[in-house]
Symmetry: C2
C-alpha cells in the first residue's frame, strides 16, 4: 500500500510508493561526469574567469594567479546583475523589477576534482567558511534580502562544468520555497512556541530509523516526507537560524558530516548527479526562534513529470527508512578506495 | 539587463534572463520519441492493460476488445490505490494516510500515434469529454478531493510510453500547487472582488504581446512570469471555476485551440518533450468566483538545477513576449505537412 506523507514544514505531501520500491542498485543514473577538455577553474587558468571576488590563498601570492585554495569569481553568465537599481514597478496586475543580484561561483579546489569528497575535511571546512564570508559581505548591500548557496553535480542536476564548485545567488526577494517553509514554521511556532525543525530533530533522533549520520552537533537524516529517493537533510541539533553564525567547532563537524554523507551517496549510488542547497534565514531578519537553517541534499535519480509539476506532490519510490538504512550501512572506508577511476 | 517578474497567482518570482536569450532554434531538445517495439495501448492489445474503466466505442463492440476511439484503463503501476480506507493518522509531528486514490490512463487513439496533434479537432474534443466524464465519476467518491489531469510527452517529460495518452491522478488531498494558486486568488478576491485569472485574461488581451492564440471563447498566452521557455497557458475568456462544467461549444473550441497550440510548439521546437496540466477547482467546492480552471503547457527544454529546486525561482532564457511572437508567427499549415517522419 503506498503511503501519503506530509512534510510539516512546507505542508507538501509526498507519495511513498513502497510497492514500486527499487533497490539502490536499480537506479541507473545518468553519468555524472560532463566532459574533459579545457577547464577554466583549474589552477593556472585564473585569467579565463572574471577577476576573483576573494580567495583563500598562500601569503604573498597575487590575486588571479596561482596559490589559492578556494576561489570565488562572478559567474560568467550571471542570472542577475550586480550593478544598478531595483526599479520596482507595476504593469497592471503584474510586478517587476530589474534583475539585480549577485551570482558567484565558489571554486572548491585548484586541482581538477569532480567531487568535493576528494578533499580532506579541513578543506571542506574552508568551503564552508567561504560560503559564510560571502553571505556576510553581500548582506551589507541593502538591495538584497537573500543568499542561496547551492551545488549542482552532474548534467542531470544542471551542472555544465565538472570541476567541483558551488554557487551563490543573492536576490532582492526571499525565494518562495523559503517563504513557504518560514510560513509553516511560523504557524507551528504560534501554536506550540517551539521551532518545528528542532522538534523534527528530536523526533528523528528518538525514532532513529531515518538517521543517516548522528554527530555530536549535527544530524543527517532522510526526511519523513522525502520528495526524492535518498534525499538527506543536515541540521544542527541546537537551534540556529543563520548559517553564517556557525561556530568554529560546528564548522569542523559540519565539514565532516557533509563529506561523509556525500561519500555515502557516492558509494551507494555510484556517483549520482545531485544538488545540495542551504536554506537559511533572510538577510533582514535577526536571530529568530522559528526558522532553522539546514542543508538539503537531493540526488537526481528520477525524472520529474507532469504530475509533480502540476501538483507539487512527489512520488518517491524509495522509503526514507530504506534509504537511511542503506546509507547508514554503506561502508565508505571500503568503497572510497575503489572510487571513480 | 535581466528582469525579475512576479506571477500574481502563486507569488512566485522568475528571472527573465534576456541577455542569455536563445533563439528557438538553439534549443536542442532531447528526442521526444521513446522506443519502438510492443505497445500495450494499440488496438488489438487490449488484454495487455488492466481491464478498461470506460471507453468511447462503436456500438455493438465489447469492452476490452477492438472498436474503441478513446479508452481509459487503470495505470498498471499506480501511484495510489483505489481500494481501502484513508486511515489518517499522526506520528508525532508528522501526518500520514494510506495512499488511496485513483491513477488512470487515457489512451487517446487506437492507432499508434506519438502526438495528440495527429488527431482531428473532433477526436481531441472526445479526449476532453473523457477527462470530464472521469472527473465527474470520481468526484462522487467522498474519499477524494482532487483530480489532476496531465500529459507527459517524451522521456525528458517523464513519459515511458510513446503512444499518445494522458493520465488522471485523483487524491484525497488538494495538491499544494493548486492550494498556493487558490490562496493567491483568494487574497486578490478579498481585496478587489474579482477573479485574478479574469483580470489576467483582460490584461493579456489588451496588451497583446504575449498572446499565442486568440479564440472566441478561449485565449492562449505565454504567461508574464513564465517559468520555462515557451510555457503557454490556455484560459476561458469568461469566468469558469470547474473544467468539468465545460459547455459543448466550449469543448469544440478548446479542442481546436489546444491542438493548435501544440502544433505550433511542435513545429517551432521540433517535437519538444512537454507536459500539460489542467488545474481546476477541488471536488468539494461548488461554483466559486475566485478560482479559474486553466491548462498549463510546459515544454521541457531546459534542466532544472539546484537554484530552482532550492528557491522556487526559475531562470527563463526566453522572454514570454519573444516566445509568443515566435509561436504566433509559426505557420502550422506549412509545417504540419513536413511533420515527424
Amino acid at each position: 500500500m503506498p503511503e501519503l506523507r506530509k512534510d510539516p514544514i512546507s505542508s507538501r505531501w509526498v507519495i511513498i510508493a513502497t510497492e514500486r520500491a527499487m533497490r539502490p542498485t536499480d537506479f541507473k543514473s545518468e553519468p555524472q561526469l560532463i566532459r574533459g577538455g579545457f577547464c577554466p577553474f583549474c589552477e593556472g587558468n585564473e585569467d579565463k574567469t572574471p577577476p576573483e571576488i576573494m580567495s583563500y590563498r598562500e601569503r604573498g601570492t597575487q590575486a588571479n594567479s596561482k596559490g589559492w585554495r578556494v576561489r570565488v569569481v562572478p559567474n560568467k553568465f550571471p542570472a542577475l546583475r550586480i550593478e544598478g537599481k531595483l526599479n520596482k514597478h507595476g504593469e497592471g496586475i503584474y510586478d517587476s523589477m530589474h534583475g539585480i543580484g549577485a551570482h558567484e561561483v565558489i571554486v572548491e579546489s585548484p586541482k581538477h576534482i569532480a567531487s568535493l569528497t576528494e578533499l580532506e575535511d579541513k578543506q571542506v571546512e574552508e568551503i564552508l567558511w567561504t560560503y559564510r564570508d560571502r553571505l556576510i559581505d553581500l548582506k551589507k548591500d541593502r538591495r538584497f534580502n537573500y543568499g542561496l548557496l547551492f551545488k549542482n553535480v552532474g548534467t542531470a542536476a544542471g551542472a555544465t562544468l565538472e570541476h567541483s564548485h558551488s554557487q551563490l545567488i543573492v536576490t532582492p526577494i526571499v525565494p518562495i520555497s523559503v517563504m513557504h517553509e518560514m510560513n509553516g514554521c511560523e504557524e507551528f511556532y504560534k501554536y506550540r512556541g517551539r521551532c518545528l525543525f528542532c522538534d523534527m530533530v528530536q523526533q528523528e533522533l528518538a525514532t532513529g530509523t531515518r538517521i543517516v549520520y548522528d554527530g555530536e552537533m549535527f544530524v543527517a537524516f532522510a526526511p519523513y516526507a522525502s520528495r526524492f529517493p535518498f534525499e538527506v537533510w543536515i541540521l544542527s541539533k541546537v537551534h540556529a537560524s543563520h548559517f553564517e553564525n556557525l561556530q568554529k567547532l560546528e564548522a569542523e563537524e559540519l565539514a565532516h558530516v557533509l563529506r561523509n554523507v556525500l561519500l555515502k551517496l557516492e558509494a551507494s549510488l555510484e556517483f549520482p548527479p545531485y544538488n545540495y542547497i542551504i536554506h537559511t534565514t533572510p538577510f533582514t531578519l535577526g536571530e529568530i526562534e522559528h526558522y532553522h537553517w539546514h542543508i538539503e541534499i537531493i540526488p537526481r535519480l528520477t525524472r520529474v513529470a507532469g504530475f509533480e509539476w502540476g501538483s507539487g506532490f512527489y512520488i518517491n519510490t524509495v522509503s526514507p527508512e530504506n534509504a537511511a538504512e542503506f546509507l547508514r550501512e554503506t561502508d565508505i572506508e571500503k568503497k572510497a578506495g575503489s572510487a571513480r577511476s
